[in-house]
């Protein structure tokens, strides 16, 4: 075969591959939104779910998803940013740093179901809490930590060296430089990374199956006392999140309108992830413009 013909065929094949990838995404989104949007209504979002009857909603699951996400981030962000600062600023190149890096790599590559099993062992059985929101949030923290560490480390490493040097040469201590010069500069990138990670946490199910459980007690949204059993804020109650709900109605549920409900719930999940994605980009560039001189 002529090498020019081969080149043209190859170009066409690569174009086709790119087209397939785009088509897969469009197909997925069209299917989820096309089938799901018509099932989303105020009623769907505000009625509690049922394991047997049709016509139920996802109120509690939606609340649980956001609540677990919030708790996870409250724990994971300070730890992850701290770990990232350590890796970027204090860790000296050498055996110990390599070891820590390997540990982070291992943690990042663990399948989420393995983290769920560890959560079951540690936060459910060992502590005797049973299936709880806090157990789920801690499992998701483990799942999420390596991501935030990496984001923070990258953000710190991408700051121009002269900012740090200027601060240090003014006699400011290292920690003070980190806190008042480097962290503000790195903030937009870290925030973007954290919001993107939130999208991942929001859709995560395997790590929550065995830690936050498959059920939600009857909640009373008038009761905001975090220590009461029926309060939505109680962190020691079991909680089924939206992603777990989609899985459980499809595999174990007996409700008659499984397809409609899961299509609606999937659409809500996808829309939430989309919002996380877009807002991450938007907020990141907005803050970057605000705190730097770039127009």
């Amino acid at each position: 075969m002529n090498s020019k013909t081969a080149d043209r065929i190859a170009t066409a094949i690569f174009g086709l591959i790119a087209f397939i990838i785009v088509a897969i995404l469009i197909g997925l989104f069209a299917y989820i939104l096309g089938n799901g949007l018509k099932h989303i209504s105020i009623e769907f979002l505000t009625t509690p779910s049922s394991n047997v009857l049709g016509g139920s909603g996802i109120r509690d699951q939606l609340f649980n998803s956001f609540y677990i996400l919030f708790l996870t981030m409250v724990i994971a962000v300070p730890l992850g940013v701290g770990g990232g600062i350590y890796m970027a600023e204090y860790a000296r190149p050498g055996k110990i740093t390599n070891l820590i890096r390997s540990f982070i790599e291992v943690l990042a590559s663990l399948p989420s179901i393995v983290i769920g099993m560890f959560g079951l062992l540690m936060f459910v059985n060992l502590t005797g809490w049973g299936y709880t929101i806090i157990g789920g949030a801690l499992a998701l923290t483990i799942f999420n930590l390596p991501v935030i560490v990496r984001v923070t480390e990258d953000a710190f490493n991408s700051i121009q060296g002269d900012q740090k040097e200027a601060s240090l040469s003014l006699g400011v201590t290292h920690w003070h430089t980190i806190k008042h010069v480097l962290l503000p500069s790195a903030f937009p990138s870290i925030l973007t990374g954290v919001i993107l990670a939130s999208g991942r946490v929001f859709g995560e199910a395997a790590a929550l199956l065995f830690t936050a459980g498959l059920s939600t007690p009857r909640l009373d949204y008038g009761n905001w006392n975090p220590f009461s059993d029926r309060s939505p804020l109680n962190i020691f109650r079991p909680a089924e999140t939206l992603a777990v709900h989609i899985w459980s109605v499809n595999t174990q549920g007996i409700i008659p309108d499984v397809v409609e409900k899961s299509a609606g719930a999937s659409a809500v999940l996808i829309i939430a992830v989309l919002i996380f994605n877009l807002s991450a980009r938007w907020i990141g560039s907005k803050i970057h413009k605000k705190i730097t001189a770039t127009k």
């Binding site: 590559s109 899961s262 999937s266």
Partner: protein, 306 residues
């Protein structure tokens, strides 16, 4: 002007020493790093000791557990604990989905970096990022409601099959493979391309004979990372693969993987029973495999030429 006050006394003095904050800050971030090490070690030790109980406490032979194809833990007279069908299922879906995702992902990466660097990247980059964002249960749900009936009617079998699981996983790992492969191709020095083109090679010849060999260790890393993700994926596969205990005889047969059996049975078995312990052993296998994947990636990145 007060000339009589010496400079020493005019300095603004802070009551707390700056060095206190320094030590505290350093301790804070070191503690955060230590927590991560602690978590990794704890996971390994806990899952390790729990996963080994099947062999130490319940006296099941590890060889039998890994090689026997008979899985019947609920048989009251002679329960059988052969996990080979699940181990086989895990490896089968992992390799098959890598076989599908690798050409697509690397092809997409080449399209973005070599064929249409200007607009190709602008279109495909957000597509890849959105694909990463779709939660695994949503993939599973679409697989269940679209792919399973499609395969049942057009290919044969029940629809719940190795093939369905492979397709779902291929799409799930596609963004992982594509984004790392894109980074690999983009980081190749331009001189390589220009040198080859200047010798009269066509673009395809350049890609095939120069660029892909130069980037091969990183491209392989991309595929291995995708495989690691496929091996550990639980819910999406569980929804479409059928979850049977027997070894599949063809690609349209229902099958099961380590993750799907764990997902399915962890809630139904009593904590501490032999069947439950065997699930923990499967979890330990997953952990060992993710260590193995990391070792492979380490080996590959050590071979990186450029």
């Amino acid at each position: 002007m007060e000339k009589s006050v010496p400079a020493k006394e005019r300095l603004i003095k802070s009551k707390n020493s700056r060095m206190n904050g320094e030590a505290r800050g350093r301790m804070l971030v070191t503690a955060s790093a230590l927590i991560m090490i602690f978590a990794t070690v704890a996971i390994t030790i806990f899952l390790g000791s729990k996963g080994l109980q099947t062999f130490t406490k319940n006296g099941i032979s590890p060889i039998e557990f890994i090689t026997s194809t008979k899985w019947d833990p609920t048989n009251a007279e002679s329960p059988l604990y052969g996990a080979f069908p699940f181990i086989f299922g895990s490896f089968a879906v992992t390799f098959l989905s890598a076989l599908v995702a690798a050409p697509l992902g690397i092809g997409g990466a080449i399209f973005m970096t070599e064929i249409a660097p200007s607009w190709g990247r602008k279109v495909l980059q957000p597509v890849i990022e959105l694909l990463v964002g779709i939660p695994s249960v949503v993939y599973g749900f679409i697989g269940l409601s679209v792919l399973v009936p499609f395969i049942r009617e057009n290919v044969g079998g029940l629809g719940f099959s190795l093939l369905t699981g492979t397709i779902v996983l291929s799409i799930m790992i596609l963004p992982t493979v594509t984004s790392i492969a894109t980074d690999a191709m983009a980081s190749l020095p331009t001189a390589l391309r220009e040198g080859s083109l200047a010798l009269g090679a066509t673009r395809w010849q350049t890609i095939r004979k120069v660029l892909i060999p130069a980037a091969s260790p990183t491209l392989l890393t991309a595929v291995v990372l995708g495989m690691a993700r496929a091996f550990g994926e639980a819910l999406a596969v569980q929804m479409v693969i059928g979850n049977v205990r027997t070894l599949p005889s063809s690609i349209i047969d229902a099958s099961a993987t380590l993750t799907t059996i764990i997902t399915l049975n962890m809630g139904h078995t009593t904590y501490g029973s032999i069947e439950n312990n065997t699930l923990w052993s499967m979890g330990l296998l997953l952990l060992i495999m993710s260590f193995a994947f990391i070792l492979v990636i380490r080996y590959l990145s050590a071979r990186r030429k450029i």
